[in-house]
């Protein structure tokens, strides 16, 4: 059950990154930073300052969204590799802050004693309760994201991705749209971070490092760029896999690398497009065999 809670949190993160990368075509190698800011923000406000956790979650989400909006203007001026480097740098800086600002974050030893979320008499303190809590957020987020993706704003994102100058000629303010999707993406990651902090009641910097950003990227690519449902598939696969790869110990990273390579070569559209294609191919082969026999 516990693992399904993580599938939910990873789905939130993957959907958020997919809005930015799959739809608007802007890469981020630092998205774990927004996840971490949400988690630490909620942890500090609700534990150290004893705020209401729900209020803390809301304030943190808006603050992280605002922060992303502000840094988005200079960062998203960059394209391609330069954008990747800038977001990578941002992620590393934030990670260092988590480690070094010991007065606030308790540093590398981790922040413990975070309260569970409560809703009236209901305390989200068991795996089952957390499962319902997290998946309520996931369903809401998926629903809103699908709506957005199929609207004029979502189309403008995709248009910028395909042909930026033409999109601008059609009146789409590319610069502002990119910054807005970046902020929205960061906001969703922050909510996922807050949920993570309250579910785990303990957080530490390694959960928000560079390798997590890369893992998120892998989820989005494996699931399918530009498909909200694909993000769920990617999150599901990459969260469940470690459970089955325990016997490989530290060599599971080799498996991930291999998987990513095979996927990009044979299923560049991700699982969400690759699996139907595979079925079609198998059906095609069968038909051919049938013809040969006849």
């Amino acid at each position: 059950m516990n693992v399904l809670v993580f599938v939910g949190i990873h789905t939130l993160l993957a959907v958020a990154l997919n809005l930015l990368l799959g739809y608007a075509g802007q890469i981020s190698l630092g998205h774990a930073a927004f996840f971490g800011l949400g988690a630490y923000g909620s942890a500090i406000l609700s534990t150290t300052y004893e705020w209401n956790p729900w209020l803390a979650m809301l304030v943190v989400a808006l603050a992280v969204g605002g922060f992303a909006f502000a840094i988005g203007f200079p960062i998203l001026k960059l394209k391609g590799h330069y954008l990747a480097m800038a977001t990578l740098g941002m992620g590393i800086i934030v990670y260092i802050v988590f480690n070094e600002w010991i007065d606030m974050t308790e540093g590398p030893s981790g922040f413990s004693g975070i309260p569970n979320l409560e809703l009236g008499p209901l305390v989200f303190d068991s795996d089952l309760k957390n499962y319902y809590l997290v998946w309520t957020f996931v369903l809401g987020c998926v629903l809103l994201s699908v709506n957005l993706a199929n609207s004029r704003i979502g189309r403008a994102f995709r248009a910028i991705h395909d042909a930026e100058v033409a999109a601008r000629v059609m009146g789409a303010n590319a610069r502002l749209l990119k910054v807005r999707v970046f902020a929205l993406s960061a906001l969703i990651c922050a909510i996922a971070g807050s949920l993570y902090a309250h579910v785990m009641t303990f957080i530490a910097p390694p959960s928000f490092g560079f390798n997590i950003s890369v893992e998120l990227l892998t989820m989005v690519v494996i699931g399918g760029l530009g498909s909200i449902y694909g993000s769920f598939l990617g999150a599901l696969l990459l969260t469940m896999l470690p459970e089955f790869l325990r016997f490989m110990h530290d060599y599971d990273i080799v498996f991930y690398g291999g998987l990513l390579m095979l996927m990009t070569i044979f299923m560049p559209g991700g699982l969400v497009r690759g699996i139907p294609d595979l079925f079609r191919k198998i059906a095609g082969l069968r038909n051919k065999k049938g013809d040969a026999h006849a």
């Binding site: 709506n147 704003i153 991705h161 042909a163 000629v169 059609m170 009146g171 789409a172 530009g226």
Partner: protein, 251 residues
């Protein structure tokens, strides 16, 4: 309708355009022609806000639009197409045209995410009107095809449909006949006339002389970054300087 005043463009010491001035009249088809390297595309990029000219002014409907960013021109009534068609390849043909209605719709991020009633209504209007524009250029049967899979000629039609969906008062086309076969070119000429009959001012940069002489009400000739001549197709055909520029001057 559109007035160019002393447009000069210098790229790192090379003068691409040198003090070019002319005006374009409303409800006409105006052709901008000239040999390769005459500065036609540069001029287009300046008018449509993609380049910022070194000096000179672009006046559109009485207002100076020099230096206005590209994305604000659609709302002002000016739109363009590209020489090597710039489609949104991963989107369907219909969705491409729907993006054309971006400047004329306004549901925000939240209205779209939460499917507010007015956003749903607007989305329906966008879809219907996009279908109408596909019908207008005659590719409605391709609505659900992915744009990247269109043959070149159909892609050109789609680009024009998308531009028209902005409801422009002026449309600028950069070599619309490039890459089209003769039958498609005839269709294009018809379409351009239809667009003019809607009251839209058309400006084209074009190499296909037959097309230009056929559909243009007025022609401006550029050569080596300067305006060489302007007039009706007949006047241009009889202009010795123009003939010399195209065929070479043999003194």
């Amino acid at each position: 309708m559109l007035e160019l005043k002393g447009i000069t463009q210098i790229f790192g010491g090379v003068t691409a355009l040198d003090d070019v001035s002319f005006s374009i009249h409303a409800n006409q088809v105006t052709g901008v022609i000239g040999p390769n390297g005459a500065g036609k595309t540069t001029l287009f990029n300046i008018v449509t806000g993609i380049y910022q000219q070194t000096s000179g002014q672009v006046i559109f409907e009485g207002k100076d639009i020099s230096g206005i960013p590209v994305e604000r021109l659609a709302a002002k009534g000016m739109v363009r197409t590209f020489q090597n068609i710039e489609l949104f390849g991963q989107m369907t043909v219909l969705e491409n045209v729907m993006v054309g209605l971006h400047s004329r719709s306004k549901s925000g991020l939240f209205a779209c995410s939460f499917k507010a009633p007015w956003a749903i209504k607007e989305e329906r209007r966008i879809r219907e009107e996009a279908h109408e524009w596909l019908r207008f250029v005659g590719i409605e049967q391709l609505a659900e095809v992915q744009a990247a899979n269109l043959p070149f000629g159909k892609g050109r039609m789609l680009e024009i449909a998308r531009a028209m969906a902005c409801r422009p008062r002026m449309i600028l086309m950069d070599e619309p006949a490039a890459g089209l076969n003769s039958q498609e070119t005839v269709g294009l000429a018809e379409l351009i006339r239809k667009i003019r009959d809607l009251g839209v001012t058309v400006v084209l940069v074009e190499h296909d002389m037959e097309l230009v002489m056929d559909i243009c009400d007025r022609i401006v000739v550029l050569n080596l970054g300067r305006k060489l001549a302007e007039g009706t197709p007949r006047e241009i055909q009889d202009n010795h300087e123009v003939i010399a520029a195209y065929l070479g001057d043999d003194e």
